[in-house]
């Protein structure tokens, strides 16, 4: 495999909450390759967004390191942002309601490519995200656009920087179902044409399956399983991945025997006082004694797969 553009190695983030600490992300390791899309899936509160914001350097990691082009990033994030851009979940909140589309794009172009022909570049960007005819959109205020159009403007603004990595923090979850597919296709096109490395954060396995190459599953602040998407979805190694896949509607469900009691699935644990050992053990039907006391190490498996589960370690 080629060298990853952006990499997180053993990254943790603890937030102080009064006297206690919230263990939002612990020991997360992730690599983004050019031209590949990694999906980060997990339920609400599993630390997906925190990880995205760590990668966007909104706050520093408590421990671990983030590497861009193999070098540990530190200091002011100014240069970093020429390579890494984040797409927010909420297209209504990530555009200043007082600025026209033109202003947003022009600023991004001027800041990163001061010598470029700004008007031409802005028009190119709008065409890139299929906001055509350009004249119809360029002088609009955000409140005059639909959710999907705004998200396209947000993507165009990120592209103006000409980044190498695009972090999408649930970029389609607040859009109408009818335009989600177009958005996924747009992201896919950017990956193929520009060779962008994309992190696609979602809780929707179906869209992850449609778009990505690799899947990484998070549970309660920890990464529990990862690998090529078809393998992970067809044959989940970690019981939680199995639960996650089973709980998304799929007409072609394999006739794998039900591992979980659908009536009693349990709740994700508190991140202030997470369970000892494997975080999933209180809900896991296959939990063993060792799961209650020791956190499972990373088990590498053939085909680029890995998991944190004692079941696989024992195998």
């Amino acid at each position: 495999m080629s060298q990853p553009v952006l990499e997180a190695r053993g990254v943790s983030k603890l937030f102080p909450a009064g006297r206690s600490t919230v263990r939002a992300v612990e020991d997360a390791t992730l690599a983004l390759q050019p031209g590949r899309i990694v999906a980060l899936v997990g339920e609400s509160g599993s630390g997906k967004t925190t990880l995205a914001r760590l990668l966007a350097r909104f706050y520093p990691p408590t421990s671990g390191e983030i590497r861009l082009h193999g070098e540990v990033v530190k200091g002011k994030p100014r240069a970093y942002y020429s390579d890494v851009q984040l797409i927010f979940q909420d297209p209504f909140g990530s555009l200043n309601p007082l600025h026209r589309v033109r202003y947003n794009l022009e600023r991004a172009v001027k800041l990163h490519h001061p010598k470029a022909d700004v008007d031409q570049r802005v028009a190119e960007l709008l065409e890139r995200v299929s906001l055509t005819p350009v004249e119809q959109f360029i002088d609009k205020f955000p409140h005059e656009l639909s959710g999907g159009q705004r998200q396209r403007v947000v993507i165009a603004r990120a592209l103006a920087v000409e980044p190498k990595v695009l972090l999408g923090d649930e970029p389609i979850s607040m859009l109408d179902v009818s335009i989600r597919l177009e958005m996924l296709n747009l992201l896919d096109r950017l990956r193929t044409e520009d060779g962008l490395a994309l992190l696609y954060i979602t809780h929707d396995i179906a869209s992850a399956r449609y778009l990505c190459d690799d899947i990484v599953v998070m549970y309660a602040g920890r990464m529990i399983e990862g690998g090529p998407k078809e393998d992970v979805i067809a044959d989940p190694l970690h019981p939680y991945t199995q639960l996650l896949i089973d709980s998304s509607p799929d007409p072609e469900r394999s006739d794998r025997p039900d591992l979980f009691d659908a009536e009693d699935l349990g709740e994700p644990p508190s991140l202030i006082d997470p369970p000892a050992g494997c975080r999933f053990h209180p809900r896991c039907p296959l939990a063993m004694d060792v799961c209650r006391t020791e956190a499972p190490p990373r088990t590498e498996l053939p085909g680029g797969r890995w998991t944190h589960c004692w079941l696989q370690e024992k195998r």
């Binding site: 100014r78 909420d90 200043n96 600023r107 800041l111 205020f141 409140h143």
Partner: protein, 288 residues
């Protein structure tokens, strides 16, 4: 200008414009406010003295016109100083947070708990020759803390909004984030603060003059009311002496409030009313 579409703004601005014009052109149109007409003392309004005369035979109209200059000057200057300090202290405090916030917030709290009126009395008593400039400076310097508090709270919440984070990611420097992303969202607050500060300045000036702090030689609406009070104008029924300056102060307050409605509509497009032509056209389409 979108603002001018609203009738409230038009009325408010015309009143304010009228008084500003009066303040600027006052000396040209009004007579000598200090001239004593011995032949008419404490006379009610008449053809010769449209607003009547004072105890000393001075023309009330001429005094009201001359007073506009002193009062408006103090009001606008005090509001400008107060608002400027509030912006410079409040917005960076909310935006940067941390140590900057702690320092600036401490300063704000210090001014917030200061007993302003006694302090103004002391400073005004200490500074010799309390003309309108000094009075405006004092009112402005001691009246910004509440506004800074408000702006800090607003920019605190604005600076963590997604669009600010997004523009920071695009690479905007702090200066531009503060002045182009955050500050435009505060125009409603700032103009409200300015207009409020202006009314406050005019009133404070009147209050200080009433208490006898202001240099009694200068003419403003405040000194007029003070003179009327000293000569027991209320008891003696000389209403034409104190009603015009009082009414002027009230009018300025009303005008400032009306303008503020319009500014609110600019900073919050959802409050905007549709243009009459649009409404008429829509009605036609609906009824057809």
């Amino acid at each position: 200008m979108i603002m001018l579409r609203s009738w409230k703004v038009r009325i408010g601005l015309s009143i304010l414009g009228f008084f500003i014009l009066l303040a600027v052109l006052g000396p040209l149109i009004g007579g000598d406010p200090r001239a004593n007409d011995i032949s008419s003392i404490s006379q009610p309004p008449s053809a010769h003295h449209l607003f009547g005369t004072t105890q000393f035979g001075q023309d009330v109209l001429a005094q009201t016109i001359a007073g506009a200059r002193g009062s408006m000057l103090v009001g606008i200057l005090a509001a400008a100083i107060g608002t400027l300090i509030a912006i410079l202290v409040g917005v960076p405090a909310g935006y940067f947070g941390g140590a900057v916030d702690n320092g600036l917030n401490f300063l704000t709290n210090l001014f917030l708990v200061m007993p302003v009126l006694p302090l103004i009395l002391i400073v005004a008593g200490y500074v010799q020759g309390t003309g309108p400039f000094v009075i405006a400076l004092i009112i402005g310097l001691f009246g910004w803390s509440g506004g800074a508090r408000t702006l800090r709270a607003q920019s605190l919440s604005l600076s963590s909004r997604d669009f600010v984070l997004a523009m920071r990611m695009v690479g905007e420097p702090h200066r531009r984030l503060i002045f182009f992303e955050i500050l435009p969202h505060l125009t409603g607050w700032i103009s409200a603060m300015f207009l409020h500060g202006m009314i406050g300045g005019v009133m404070a000036e009147a209050g200080l003059a009433f208490l006898g702090i202001t240099d009694s030689g200068s003419i403003s609406w405040g000194t007029m009311i003070q003179a009327a009070q000293q000569q027991s104008a209320v008891l003696r029924g000389l209403w034409w002496w104190f009603v015009p300056p009082g009414l002027c102060i009230a009018l300025i307050g009303t005008a400032a409030t009306l303008v503020n409605f319009g500014v609110d509509e600019v900073s919050n497009p959802k409050l905007r009313q549709a243009r009459r032509s649009v409404i008429v056209r829509t009605r036609k389409v609906v009824s057809a």
